[in-house]
């Protein structure tokens, strides 16, 4: 485990400077008027956004990850080794967070970067859902269209194996991103960094997202005395956001009134997404976790636990939209915005978009609440889990002529100050995932207080989806069989048995040695938090 | 066996009158030719009889029965199209059998009749050949056979010989005539070729511009054209028509053609024209009746065409043209010289210069 030791050494080094940065940032926040006075930058700050209240929080001194990145870029620029521009491939819906100024008076992130470094940031939009396709195309055809790729986090393993993305260890060592900084950095510290940015012990990506699937409900329905009374009559306990899957299913069934345009729960059931909700039920089957694979690479899904999770998953269709199997998140968001569902499980940005006074299309503004994922009671307590799924992560293309500079841009963008500022911007899909994000006033304003704490707690209960090589093939096989079970064309037992068979074949293709190592690394990131009942 | 009566039959397409008030009765078993230049309304008439067109007004009676509302499939009419409309995707046999099959005749009957007709039309050797590759002459026979096999009471033929080569045309004319003799149907034959009409038809109906101009036997039409159109249309070349003036001297009436001479009228015409002294008329005479002997009319000789048995002499005087046809044994006049000729009294016809109608000879 040479890499692990490297990581610990780095975290040791960075934790001190992180504390110093905090010490500077906090008092400045208390004196915003003074900070604006001079060049717009607060004392001791070398860069960051200006022009709005609280901008100091996002400014940085020389001894911060952002400051080091900018200094290093400027040094490269002076040495004449920097390019005129770098090209970033990014999902269409996320571009706004980088290009639209936020809040009023601020520059956009793109403007700030270009202003501070003089290097043009060129963003190429990629249709949602096409990110990985486009990147693989660029890698395999040697297209060289991008310097930086932004793809789903699960694909890091695939991309690293393909040789298309740069191993960033060297740059991390040199420029110290301090991702695991306590209070500011990734949830779970070093473990979180390894989960989100690492693959087989090396850093290959920089996390730019927090797609921890989070549960939401409608406060107007849950708070309605008539509903509460009716529910208590029927089930003998108080109507409240569900804590267990049993409660969840009962509440969903209670609210499921399709003829009145109300659906019990709209957690996704479609291709490519639905199985994330199967995961949530499956992994809580044991305490602290029911794993997908044993340490030796044996699939564990074709088991009593797998079958039961599948049966629950299929049975839950009864309180879903009749069209659930064809609905993706755009339909889910659209439906929730018009008050079409009582509960849902979605990206953590759902309240940011739908509980938003600027969204004329939403009828649920002010009526959204968040809750922890439903769990399952075991002898040692309650296990509730949600999943990390999708989650854009940026990597440097091996075809880029300036990998170090690209990395520096990502260090700058993905560190807690700039990232907090960016994620607060309602114009895109980048969601909070760092501790600093969750406590940032602007982020909390955009994402709402009620939601932020739940997200932070959900993150602590999040299991990763498959992120080893062949991830897509594994997921597709599971997906295909789960959908067959959902549509009734296959029994739960057959679905699990089939999946296991297909997984074996995929494992053979991927290479079992490689796989076992990746499975172990993946497991290290699983939480062991068990709540008291 | 059917008699066809057309009563006040008319057809208009928008403003265009294709057929105006046609009255014609075609007797049972008669071979009637509808003759006229293209666009004269003969095909329209035929299509109305067949039922492909609905008349704008008037009635069509088969044996006294009005058939305007009878759909064409039920009229019992045989029809031979100008280009035969042979089903080229079928064999000769299938073509012949088509009508019988369509009418649900029993298989044995079909086989028998097809065989019989194939023999009659000399098609036995090619019964199983695809119709697509056959020569025009055979297609034509096949087309007739295909309709005739149903023994229709009325047989309509739309210019059936126009695509046939000249040598075969003569053969077909006699064949058609003999076929009609055998079947004894009422036959209506549309043609623009007067030779076909004259040689085959019992009677000819001459049409122009949607109007029926004259109906009569071939000889009658030839000898006594009802108007200048018929006069010019029938005959090869057609009748000479010259502008003239009636002159009465004593009891005799003659026609003076200015600058050319004068012609005496036969008694019957003299009687008819007696009251018209001094008025303009048109005088007509057949080129064949011109005689080189004697005096009367003088014109300048233009082209002299020797075509074997006959010689056609083109005559001209100050823009007025006429033709003379002389037997080959008569020495033709010298070209570019004036030539004097006579027209026998009974060869002269008179026409009204305004209406073009013939002045009918009247008995005393």
């Amino acid at each position: 485990m040479p890499n692990l030791s490297k990581l610990s050494r780095r975290s040791f080094l960075t934790s001190t400077s992180g504390a110093a940065a905090l010490a500077v940032a906090t008092p400045l926040y208390l004196r915003p008027d003074r900070a604006r006075a001079a060049s717009g930058l607060a004392d001791g700050m070398i860069g960051g956004p200006t022009g709005f209240d609280g901008a100091e929080r996002y400014q940085y001194g020389p001894d911060t990850p952002e400051g080091r990145a900018i200094d290093a870029v400027r040094a490269m620029k002076d040495a004449g080794s920097a390019p005129e521009r770098i090209v970033l491939g990014l999902s269409d819906g996320s571009i706004g967070q980088i290009t639209q100024p936020f809040p009023a008076g601020a520059p956009s992130i793109k403007e700030l970067w270009e202003q501070e470094t003089g290097i043009t940031l060129d963003i190429v939009g990629v249709p949602n859902g096409q990110e990985f396709t486009k990147v693989m195309q660029d890698i395999s055809t040697k297209g060289g269209g991008f310097d930086i790729y932004a793809v789903e986090w699960n694909r890091l393993g695939d991309l690293a194996e393909s040789g298309g993305i740069v191993n960033l260890d060297e740059y991390v060592e040199m420029h110290k991103p301090e991702w695991d900084m306590p209070e500011r950095g990734y949830v779970g510290g070093e473990q979180g960094v390894s989960l989100l940015n690492g693959y087989r012990g090396s850093i290959y990506g920089v996390c730019l997202d927090g797609d921890f699937q989070t549960w939401n409900h409608r406060t107007d329905l849950f708070g309605d005395p008539a509903e509460q009374a009716a529910f208590a009559d029927k089930h003998g306990y108080e109507l409240a956001p569900p804590k267990t899957w049993k409660e969840h299913d009962e509440i969903a069934a209670f609210f499921h009134r399709p003829d009145d345009g109300l659906i019990g729960s709209t957690d996704l059931r479609n291709q490519g997404w639905g199985y994330t909700n199967w995961y949530q039920r499956y992994v809580t089957m044991a305490s602290p976790n029911q794993f997908l694979f044993a340490d030796d690479g044996t699939a564990l899904i074709n088991s009593e636990q797998g079958v039961q999770a599948t049966m629950e998953y299929v049975a839950s269709l009864a309180h879903h939209s009749a069209d659930a199997i064809s609905w993706g998140w755009p339909e889910q968001y659209g439906n929730f915005a018009t008050g079409g569902a009582a509960m849902t499980c979605a990206f953590s940005n759902l309240p940011k978009f739908l509980d938003n006074s600027g969204n004329d299309g939403s009828t649920v503004t002010g009526k959204i609440g968040s809750h922890l994922p439903p769990g399952r009671d075991h002898a040692d307590g309650r296990v509730s889990r949600t999943v990390l799924w999708f989650n854009l992560s940026a990597s440097v293309s091996t075809q880029s002529e300036h990998p170090e500079l690209c990395y520096l841009f990502l260090q700058w963008l993905g560190s807690s100050r700039i990232y907090s500022w960016m994620t607060a911007n309602p114009g895109g899909f980048f969601d909070p995932f760092q501790l600093a994000n969750f406590s940032d006033p602007l982020v909390r304003q955009t994402y709402h207080d009620y939601h932020m704490d739940i997200v932070r707690e959900s993150v602590r209960r999040t299991v990763p989806t498959i992120n080893y090589p062949g991830a897509t093939a594994f997921h597709n096989a599971l997906d295909e069989n789960l959908t067959a079970a959902l549509t009734g064309s296959m029994s739960a037992e057959d679905a699990m048995a089939n999946t296991e068979r297909q997984w074996k074949r995929i494992a053979r293709r991927v290479g079992e040695d490689k796989l076992v190592e990746a499975i172990r690394a993946n497991k290290a990131a699983w939480p062991d938090l068990v709540d008291p009942v | 066996m059917s008699e066809i009566a057309l009563e006040n039959l008319g057809k208009t397409f928008g403003d265009f009158t294709a057929l105006a008030d046609m009255n014609l009765t075609i007797a049972n078993g008669e071979f009637m030719a509808l003759l006229g230049p293209s666009g004269c309304g003969k095909s329209t008439t035929m299509n109305i009889i067949a039922g492909m067109l609905r008349p704008s007004h008037g009635a069509i009676r088969f044996n006294g029965q009005d058939v305007v509302d009878v759909p064409m499939a039920k009229r019992g009419v045989g029809f031979v199209f100008q280009n035969y409309a042979i089903f080229t995707h079928m064999s000769v046999r299938e073509n012949l059998a088509y009508g019988l099959r369509a009418q649900g005749a029993p298989g044995a009957e079909i086989t028998k009749r097809v065989k019989a007709f194939a023999e009659l039309l000399q098609l036995e050797t090619m019964l199983d050949r695809p119709a697509a590759g056959l020569s025009v002459n055979i297609l034509q026979r096949l087309a007739i056979g295909r309709s005739a096999i149903l023994k229709p009471a009325i047989f309509l033929l739309d210019e059936p010989l126009s695509n046939v080569d000249a040598a075969f045309r003569a053969v077909m004319r006699s064949e058609l005539k003999s076929l009609q003799g055998q079947f004894g149907q009422t036959m209506v034959y549309v043609t623009h070729d007067q030779l076909e009409a004259m040689t085959m038809a019992d009677r000819i109906a001459v049409m122009d511009h949607g109007k029926l101009l004259q109906v009569g036997t071939p000889l009658d039409i030839y000898n006594n054209p009802a108007d200048t159109f018929v006069a010019r249309f029938i005959g090869a070349p057609g009748m000479n028509i010259l502008d003239g003036r009636l002159i009465q001297k004593d009891d005799a009436v003659s026609v003076e053609v200015p600058g050319i001479g004068s012609v005496d009228l036969p008694p019957a015409l003299q009687f008819a024209a007696r009251d018209l002294n001094g008025s303009d008329v048109q005088i007509g005479f057949r080129p064949e009746q011109v005689s080189a002997t004697g005096s009367g009319l003088t014109m300048r000789v233009g082209l002299v065409e020797r075509i074997g048995a006959r010689t056609i002499v083109h005559l001209e005087h100050e823009g007025i043209a006429a033709k003379a046809v002389l037997p080959a044994d008569v020495a033709p006049p010298v070209a570019r010289k004036d030539w004097t000729f006579t027209v026998p009294e009974d060869g002269v016809r008179l026409f009204d210069p305004v209406t073009g109608q013939a002045l009918k000879a009247r008995a005393h």
Binding site: Q137, D323, G334, N335, N359, D360, G361 | M52
Partner: protein, 286 residues
Amino acid sequence: MQRAIPFEIFRYVVILSLVAISLVPTLWMISMAFKPIAEWSAAGADLTWWPRNPTLDNFRFIFGQSSTDLIVALERTAGRPIFASLLTATFGTLIAMTAGTAAAYGLSRFGQGGNLPLALIQLRLFPPMAVMIPVMIMWSFLGLIDNWFGLSLIYGIVTLPFAFWLMKTFFDDMPREIEDAALVEGCTRWRVFVRITLPMMRPALASSALFVFILNWSDYLIALLLTTRDWATIPVYMASLSSSMTGQLYGAKAALGVIAAVPPIIMGIAIQKHLVRGLTFGALKE
């Protein structure tokens, strides 16, 4: 020909009902295009047939001029994709028609290129998806990814079979006497082709070109794989019209769909006369 009244009634009933059914999706698209966000935002729930408050907002939106731009960060307006679609479909049609017409004439008149009919049928039969890997590698090697010429070129190739087949049947049908007459008068073969044959083939060229254009204009898959930003075509761009605020931007998609239907319809009307004759594929020779 005379038809009975009951038949006429039958005819109108059948035609009108089929027309009505076939219009439903089209009218739906048009109706969606004019609905304000509130009326299309929820998939499936509370949808009305007609816009209650018709608006041009969707059209304004895709051209970047909407008041509702908070809905999604619209980085690219529809203008560029419409231009890309027009340019690549037109140029692709040009390539297919030029190569196809020339080859069809060469084969029809001089018997050259006897291998083409089979090769082109195979080309058309083959699912483009199955060759996209090598094509992407080739195109990338040639620098033709996300390039208007690259997309036009593949369009020209995949529709070449149709251009060739349609034009070949027209040339087969065309009487040679006219060309022969011109040849006797001393024109060169090339001159005859350019000055006599092609002008006579104008209706045929027009209807074939429309057909080929519609095929190119309709493509989604190829453009999806061979373009990224600059030359994304209408269908590819359309995929980006979704947002977290309201889900799929159906109104915007429908508005773009309405716009996308305009060029083929205009072309169709322009050559309506030749359309029916043009599609007999010369199959009706005696």
